[in-house]
């Protein structure tokens, strides 16, 4: 489905990249001009991504807005883009969050401004590339390309311990990616020397190979999600990253891991995925409970939210490996919601940090008295984070619990304890920071300004929208998820199925 006269996905990838180059060419001292240019680029990219929302055909599981060009024909490498119901929402989330990253960084980034925005746009382009690549080689390039600007974002504009955090982030993800690279090469050699993902999805690889490749890809995706026990890079990266970095990390970057499971692990290695699902579900439940309880021991605002991401992403992977409609749809919706909510929480913390320059929970108290508007915004996001019905957090989490419970009752029950733990640490955090006596360190600070309110407002709208009318978003993924589940369920049963068809056909004719 082309629908539009121009290659929309390429535009979304290369407009930010071109923008990054353009920004680098601006004179360093023209700070205001740099900021406004960055703002315009991000807004235009966002507006240009809206046709994906409006023009998307929800009745098909086929790839849409596709573009295909030969690139290195000798090696079977093509430049192929397209989105389906699983990936399209992530592209939109990326373009939206980038705008907010620009506005929230307005006054907080004071050094190397143009490099900062350039890095941000390079990340944006690469992430959109990851979500829309239909060629495995292209996918891998974007997947790795994203690493470098993200590494710089943390390492240059981050907190005091930024270098350690950046290297840790880089190595963790790189080690995972290398194993995936091996997997990609094996796939390439076994799919008739092509990187065409759609072609791979139609293949039935031998079971032993599926199992091996499942774990090779798992290494890359599990680190990104991050799943227990490879999650320890996330708290460091989040804590040290500048606000925009944390927002991108939490909002979309870690979603790439879960997206990888959906795009590769399930359709390419369906039998292995089915057999490994129990292991994945156990790891997910550990992440939910472990990530939640560990929040109770945090003293750093960003670290706490980072660990809560581990817990929330546990719900996502639980849903995905429940391998049923509610589980997967819930998982995807939970990803969108988590992107919005946790992105918003990091934006909020960034705004507070800009005023006080402290991330220590102990340095706060009584913020609701001093910054009432800010406190109200934070409250809404807190409620969404603890899955209050009527907010976005509830729908995804609840669907995941249905899916998880359907697949494996014990895991469903254990995962549900996450809703108690989640309430405990988030309300504890809220009380420590916002209620009780006003800490002298925050006295006299001004409430958030109109720029900051406008940054948070779109996310509030999304929180309520997804909570009250989630069907807008669920309907996007409906057909694609069903198609994916059919693919997983029928894998390995090809012969049986054909015989069934044969036996069923005549009866239908008789009817």
């Amino acid at each position: 489905m082309e629908g539009l006269g121009y290659p929309i996905l390429s535009t979304l990838i290369f407009l930010p990249i071109a923008g990054a180059i353009a920004i680098l060419l601006i004179k360093r001292t023209a700070e205001t001009f740099i900021k406004w240019t960055a703002f315009l680029i991000s807004v235009i990219t966002f507006i240009l991504s809206l046709p994906l929302f409006i023009g998307f055909d929800k009745t098909t599981s086929e790839m849409q807005f596709t573009e295909t060009h030969e690139w290195v024909p000798d090696w079977g490498i093509r430049y192929a883009l397209g989105v389906d119901g699983i990936s399209v929402l992530f592209v939109l989330l990326t373009t939206l969050l980038t705008v907010l990253c620009v506005t929230v960084s307005w006054n907080s980034i004071k050094e190397k401004i143009k490099e900062f925005y350039a890095a941000l746009f390079l990340i944006e382009g690469a992430i959109i590339g990851v979500f829309s690549s239909l060629d495995l080689f292209l996918f891998y390039i974007f997947w790795e390309a994203m690493l470098i600007p993200m590494f710089l974002l943390i390492g240059v504009w981050g907190g005091p311990n930024r270098v350690y955090a950046a290297i840790k982030f880089f190595l963790y993800t790189l080690v995972g990616s290398l194993l995936m690279l091996v997997g990609i090469i094996v796939l390439y050699l076994n799919t008739g020397k092509t990187f065409d993902m759609l072609q791979m999805m139609a293949m039935n690889y031998p079971y032993a190979m599926q199992l091996m490749l499942f774990w090779a890809f798992f290494a890359a995706f599990a680190v990104k999600v991050p799943m227990f026990p490879v999650h320890t890079w996330l708290p460091d990266a989040h804590t040290e990253a500048p606000t925009a970095g944390s927002v991108i990390l939490a909002g979309v970057l870690i979603k790439m891991g879960a997206y990888g499971f959906l795009r590769f692990s399930l359709p390419l290695f369906p039998e292995a995925a089915k057999d490994m699902a129990p292991v994945m579900m156990i790891l997910s439940v550990i992440a939910i409970i472990y990530g939640g309880i560990i929040c109770l021991a945090q003293t750093d605002l960003k670290r706490l939210i980072a660990y809560s991401s581990v817990s929330h992403m546990g719900f996502v992977t639980l849903g995905i490996f429940a391998l049923n409609t509610q589980g997967i749809q819930g998982g995807i919706l939970q990803m969108i919601s988590h992107g919005v909510v946790t992105g918003a929480l990091f934006l909020c913390i960034g705004m507070l940090y800009d005023k006080t320059h402290s991330r220590q929970i102990g340095d706060y108290g009584g913020v609701a008295t001093v910054l009432p508007i800010y406190a109200a915004f934070f409250m809404v996001f807190t409620l969404a984070a603890i899955g209050l019905p009527g907010t976005s957090g509830f729908v995804g989490e609840f669907l995941v619990l249905i899916g998880g419970f359907t697949a494996w009752k014990l895991m469903g029950v254990l995962a549900a304890t996450g809703i108690i733990i989640g309430a405990a640490y988030m309300l504890w955090l809220y009380q420590k920071v916002f209620f009780m006596d006003v800490n002298p360190k925050i006295e006299g600070h001004k409430d958030i300004n109109i720029r900051e309110i406008m940054t948070l407002l779109p996310l509030i709208v999304l929180v309520i929208w997804i909570g009250v009318y989630p069907n807008t978003f669920l309907s996007f993924m409906d057909v694609s998820v069903q198609n994916l589940i059919d693919r997983v369920n029928t894998a390995g049963m090809v012969e049986i199925e054909t015989t069934q068809e044969v036996t069923e056909m005549p009866t239908e004719v008789i009817k």
């Binding site: 080689f137 891998y140 690493l147 880089f170 690279l181 109770l296 009527g390 609840f398 669907l399 504890w428």
Partner: protein, 644 residues
């Protein structure tokens, strides 16, 4: 679409207006938005009541809320006999509490916020009772919990209210954990969450079992008990009752509306709504009855010795909710709802009366420091007295009829029923005693506040303004007359409410005889009168008795004074270990030692490397170079391999 959507919508609109414009524009005029809205809901509720009384049941969907595969759930309304009773209770008490709050909250800097939350609460509670499916009930259930959290912690600058709000939310989440799994199980086994469809097909599950840890357990029992766990949390039954007494940190109108008349009764409403499910499991029914009976007794004994006027009334609420569960558990769902309805009036009145007393006493809560307020605040006194007579079960008042109905139904329900009847009757005596303990200590005798030296408190004693006493008077009328809709046949009434609710809630078969019925009533009356008499003797006639008793039974008194140490137990057994594990195991060992140790062999080396680099100060560039080199290496390696 029809007019009934406005019942919840009006308060929602009021909430939206007040929360957005309250701070800057509306300020202390917030009640001009909130009160007309809830009044509109009240009028529409009366219209709905009339329509249902005329024989109509309204059930329709508004829109599809969540659709995922075969999981479909709507936002929709079911307005039947049970719903309209709840609508009347919620909107009328809410309206009166709104009006009362104009006086009580006057001058509070958070005035607009208070009215916003009240509106949001009213909306949520109405969504809860009007829903036509279980998930909408859950939605309302959680939203009222949110409002409860926000309103308990309304004065968030102090630690105690902030703690109490958080505690309420988290304890309720424990109940919701069970409730949520119950909801999921219903969907899993019946494929729907719509009430009509659930009740139509729940019979199919009869006899089915589910394997839990090697035991085959009756499926319906499991589902019913999971739902009941939710009710235990919301309605503050043992062992999840701990949040409600602390909830008294909130403003008193909130205690009256949320923590007495409406929200805490949601558990009872839910059990009654799900009577077709509960009725299929004897185990679940007896669990409900026994938890109810034990809670009724447990909370009443605590109430005997407390001195904080609001906490006594709070324990009284826990106890009275126990009665309602007892009723549901013996199959008398109608009696449970009848008591819910009368309780709303006399208990809201007790709280608002207590608020009026606090208003006069400049926030004092200790009844030992009051006394003799009768002559200073006659309206508060007389209305409070009426409420106390009503809750004590003095014949002719609302509480008498509903409590009598419960005791009678308990007596009627076999041997376990007889046990709950004995407990229930004993609680009647205790209820009368502690209720009149408040009356006598607060309003009779001499003033014991800080009057002698600086003449402060006594000088300020005054009746509350009309905007506060008017709701008291209206509620007092309710505390007397609300029960008249359920006068039993035995006493010449028609038990109208019992028959009205019968289509939804059914009515247990009566096997006990006419004489036994008189016996049950007589014993209850004697118990109530005995309780009042004892209170009179203890606190007016011979005030030395309580002190002597407390000395003589020191251990028992200490246990009751400390509320059976349940809070301490939870702190010791759950809260501390969890926090300890979080910091001393998960952070210190698993994350920092094991995972970091195993995974970080490399990063540890990097750290050294990084530190060296930092010392050399050539810094970042080399890092980037290294990063890019690795990335390039990967891509080049790929190209090379691909080329072969």
């Amino acid at each position: 679409m029809d007019k009934y959507i406005l019942i919840p919508l009006l308060p929602l609109i009021a909430f939206a207006i007040n929360i957005i414009f309250g701070r800057g524009i509306i300020k202390d005029r917030a009640h001009y938005i909130a009160i007309p809205a809830v009044f509109g809901s009240f009028v529409l509720s009366v219209i709905a009541f009339a329509e249902v009384a005329g024989g109509k049941v309204i059930n329709y969907d508004i829109y599809s809320w969540i659709v995922s595969g075969d999981f479909r759930v709507s936002i929709g309304f079911l307005i039947d006999q049970l719903t309209v009773i709840m609508l009347i209770v919620v909107t009328s008490v809410s309206l009166l509490v709104h009006i009362y709050s104009v006086g009580y909250m006057h001058g509070d800097p958070g005035y607009y916020r208070f009215f916003s939350y009240l509106s949001l609460f009213t909306f949520s509670m109405l969504m809860l009772v009007m829903g036509n499916n279980l998930l909408q009930l859950y939605l309302g259930w959680e939203l009222v919990g949110l409002c409860s959290y926000l309103l308990i912690g309304f004065w968030y600058k102090k630690k105690a209210p902030a703690d109490a709000g958080k505690k309420a939310f988290i304890v309720n989440r424990v109940g919701d954990f069970g409730f949520g799994i119950g909801v999921i199980m219903i969907f899993l086994f019946l494929g729907t969450l719509n009430y009509t469809e659930i009740f139509g097909s729940i019979g199919m599950l009869t006899g089915q079992t589910i394997n839990i840890a090697g035991f085959n357990v009756d499926l319906i029992t499991v589902i019913a008990l999971l739902l009941f766990l939710g009710a235990v949390g919301k309605s503050a039954q043992i062992p999840l009752h701990v949040w409600l007494p602390d909830a008294m940190e909130g403003p008193t109108p909130v205690s009256a509306l949320i923590h007495a008349a409406t929200m805490v009764t949601a558990g009872v409403f839910m059990i009654a709504r799900f009577n077709p499910v509960f009725s299929l499991s004897e185990t679940a029914m007896w669990t409900v009855a026994i938890v109810g009976a034990v809670t009724a007794l447990f909370a009443a004994t605590i109430a005997l010795v407390q001195n904080d006027i609001k906490r006594i009334v709070a324990y009284s609420t826990v106890s009275q909710l126990g009665y309602m569960f007892l009723a549901c558990g013996v199959g008398a769902f109608g009696a449970g709802i009848f008591h819910l309805y009368t309780h709303a009036f006399f208990k809201a009145l007790l709280f608002l009366g207590a608020g009026s007393v606090m208003h006069a006493m400049a926030g004092e809560l200790n009844i030992q420091k009051m006394g003799g307020l009768k002559k200073h605040m006659p309206v508060t006194y007389w209305t409070f007295l009426i409420a106390s007579l009503s809750i004590a079960g003095i014949p002719g008042l609302a509480g008498f009829f509903s409590k009598d109905e419960i005791l009678w139904m308990a007596y009627n329900a076999g041997s376990l029923g007889k046990f709950t009847w004995i407990v229930g009757t004993a609680v009647t005596a205790l209820t009368a005693f502690y209720s009149f303990r408040i009356v006598f200590l607060t309003f009779h005798g001499k003033f014991r506040g800080t009057s002698k030296s600086d003449n402060r408190q006594e000088y300020h004693l005054h009746e509350s303004p009309k905007v506060m006493t008017m709701p008291l008077v209206v509620l007092a009328v309710g505390a007397v007359a609300a029960g008249w809709v359920g006068i039993p046949e035995l006493l010449g009434g028609g038990n109208w409410i019992g028959y009205f609710l019968e289509p939804v809630l059914g009515r247990p078969e009566i096997t006990a005889t006419y004489t036994e019925k008189w016996m049950v009533i007589s014993i209850a009356i004697v118990a109530a009168l005995a309780g009042v008499f004892m209170a009179w003797m203890f606190y007016l006639l011979k005030p030395e008795i309580p002190k002597n008793l407390a000395m003589k039974f020191k251990n028992a008194h200490t246990i009751l004074w400390n509320k059976y140490y349940v809070d301490e137990l939870y702190d010791f057994a759950i809260e501390r270990p969890t926090k300890w594990i979080a910091s001393n195991v998960l952070v210190a060992v698993t994350d920092n030692k094991i995972i970091e140790g195993v995974v970080n062999g490399l990063p540890a080396a990097i750290r050294n490397f990084g530190e060296k680099l930092r010392k050399v100060q050539t810094g970042y560039l080399q890092h980037y170079a290294m990063g890019m080199a690795i990335g390039l290496f990967v891509i080049l390696a790929l190209v090379v391999i691909a080329a072969n």
